[in-house]
Amino acid sequence: MYDKDYIEKINEKKKDWEETTVKKVTSKYPERYEKFYTNSNQEVDRLYTESDIQDLDYLEDLGFPGQYPYTRGVQPTMYRGRLWTMRQYAGFGNAEESNKRYKYLLSQGQTGLSVAFDLPTQIGYDSDQPLSQGEVGKVGVAIDSLKDMELLFNGIPLDKVSTSMTINAPASVLLAMYIAVAEKQGVSPEKLSGTIQNDILKEYVARGTYIFPPQPSMRLITNIFEFCSANLPRWNTISISGYHIREAGATAIQEVAFTLANGIAYVEAAINAGLDVDEFAPRLSFFFNAHNDLLEEVAKFRAARRLWARIMKERFKAKKPKSLMLRFHTQTGGSTLTAQQPDNNIVRVTLQALAAVLGGTQSLHTNSRDEALALPSEDSVRIALRTQQIIAHESGVAETIDPLAGSYYVESLTNSIEQKAREYIEKIDQLGGSPKAIEKGYIQQEIQDSAYRYQMDIESGRRIVVGVNKFQIEEEPPKGLLKVDPEVGRKQEEQLKELKSSRDNLAVQEALKELEAKAKTDENVMPAVIKCVKCYATLGEICDTLRGVFGEYKASVII
């Protein structure tokens, strides 16, 4: 907080400056626009001063790294101690190919694995289902049974790597398979570290790979919380994701607001299921997007951290410091990449990665330049990883903690993002919480409106995207894009057939029956799921069993 008189004086002098010095220039050379906006449509002033952050209380609002309210970072030494985890999302085709890609990435200095699954896997269909046609192995690796999972991690010691799996609706099944593979390697569950995304709420609003209705989905999630807190203490049980909400068109403020609102819903569900907040909250993690508006993005990360700490403390009375910390993974914004002049994307990714690092991310995925065109090639993936390494080792931004703190503009943006996100959360509370707000279509509508406004701003030229609506050139179509082997689908089908004729089908039937029975009670389903995967029941069989009990979700379309 600042001295009132001094602030007065600054305001006076600023007014003076505007009326004399500035006016002299603007009367001859007007500014480029009448008003300026951030990427998220917040109005930006010409100049920020102490006056704009006069209510900021250093100790209360910023504090120190590793201390409440964690605005400046969750670890005491941040990147001076250890750099963020460089984690490239990868996985395509079949398990063997992906396994090769992982080994390559590990040999290149990557420090954690991140598994992408194909859409049939994400929606709980086997590769031989009619709806899977054309999709097998397309956006990630196809996993039909434990067999595929064994191949995927073949030769990778699971006690040595941390693995992040982008899996939501069938998260319990994939986690069960991971545990089973580890067991075969002789690695016990408590040694496993990694993350499952397991965030179903954002699937309903933004990403679309849901299976079951909200209620049983929330139950599966709390089952996982409970199971992991007893058996996999180092496992991050959920990655509450704003990434896809942003990709669907939300603003930075909406990204923070809707993600934390979902977070609140998970915490409430777990508490209602009888768990103690300090038991599971330390294992909650978050996943955000990084866009091009560098300073707004930095402010977004800082605001999210502060807001979450306050929510956990004030609303849920969490006590452990770890329960209050918003730890997050960041991925650069896929939707900001352009198909036009794709090499420009390297620069965009650099800005975005820088924002994530300046914002204090715990791990980072940098997109490859050709992602708007196809699956990334090996060259592009390497450049993307190198981008992180250059930021880490050459830019100097990792040498001190939260270097942008104290910037009038950044602190003022941090305040306004926290404030506006809070208002959204209040509105969502009034609607009965995030699941209700989703059911009413409120969140989808807000995102949809932002997405449409953004597109219209580009079309009207109010927003410039280099190479898309300005600075275009004639281009040769790009070459050397990666293609998924169209045979993958057929091969997976064959393997499935083989599996079904060689496994102990009686054991499978029994395990599935037991799962069905457990699903009908309110007991934890995890042990039954693990039993199923161990006798090689397929993902599709397991999910179908659950579909039979839980039903399937049908989205309402909000346009």
């Binding site: 859409l119 046609q133 956006v139 679309g208 196809a374 449409y452 597109q455 580009i458 609506n469 346009i559």
Partner: protein, 133 residues
């Protein structure tokens, strides 16, 4: 009574990917351009799309895919339309589609492919100019 010629368009997402931002923005832009848009949502099979297009007697179908399954699913829709004798319906596609796939898709009967970055106004114009009334 005066005759009206409102263009009707079915916007559909075949395949399994849930990224419908583009499809929804386009649905809205087409509506704002005065068209009637029937939006059928996610996870549509080619069979469902074609059946809906016939019952709704649309002038055009807009398909959007981001998963990479376009080479299989787009031609399947056109093929089924032909089978039903409804190949006068204009079919356009969009999404993450590599340039090298475009000639093949056009040959299969997709009238135009719009890749990311295409202004919605171009899509509106294309439909207006190419639907058969």
């Amino acid at each position: 009574m005066t005759q009206t010629n409102t263009i009707r368009v079915l916007v559909a997402k075949p395949g399994l990917d849930g990224h419908d931002r583009g499809a929804k923005v386009i649905a809205r832009a087409l509506r704002d351009a005065g068209m009637e848009v029937i939006y059928t949502g996610l996870r549509q099979t080619p069979e469902q799309i074609v059946e809906a297009a016939i019952q709704e007697d649309v002038d055009a179908i807009g398909l959007s895919i981001l998963s990479g399954a376009h080479n299989f699913l787009f031609p399947k829709v056109v093929e089924l339309l032909k089978k039903e004798g409804a190949d006068d319906i204009l079919v356009i596609g969009g999404g993450v589609i590599p340039d090298e796939d475009i000639p093949g898709l056009k040959e299969a009967g997709i009238a135009e492919i719009f890749t990311p970055g295409t202004p919605t106004s171009r899509i509106v114009e294309f439909i207006k100019e190419n639907v058969k009334h």
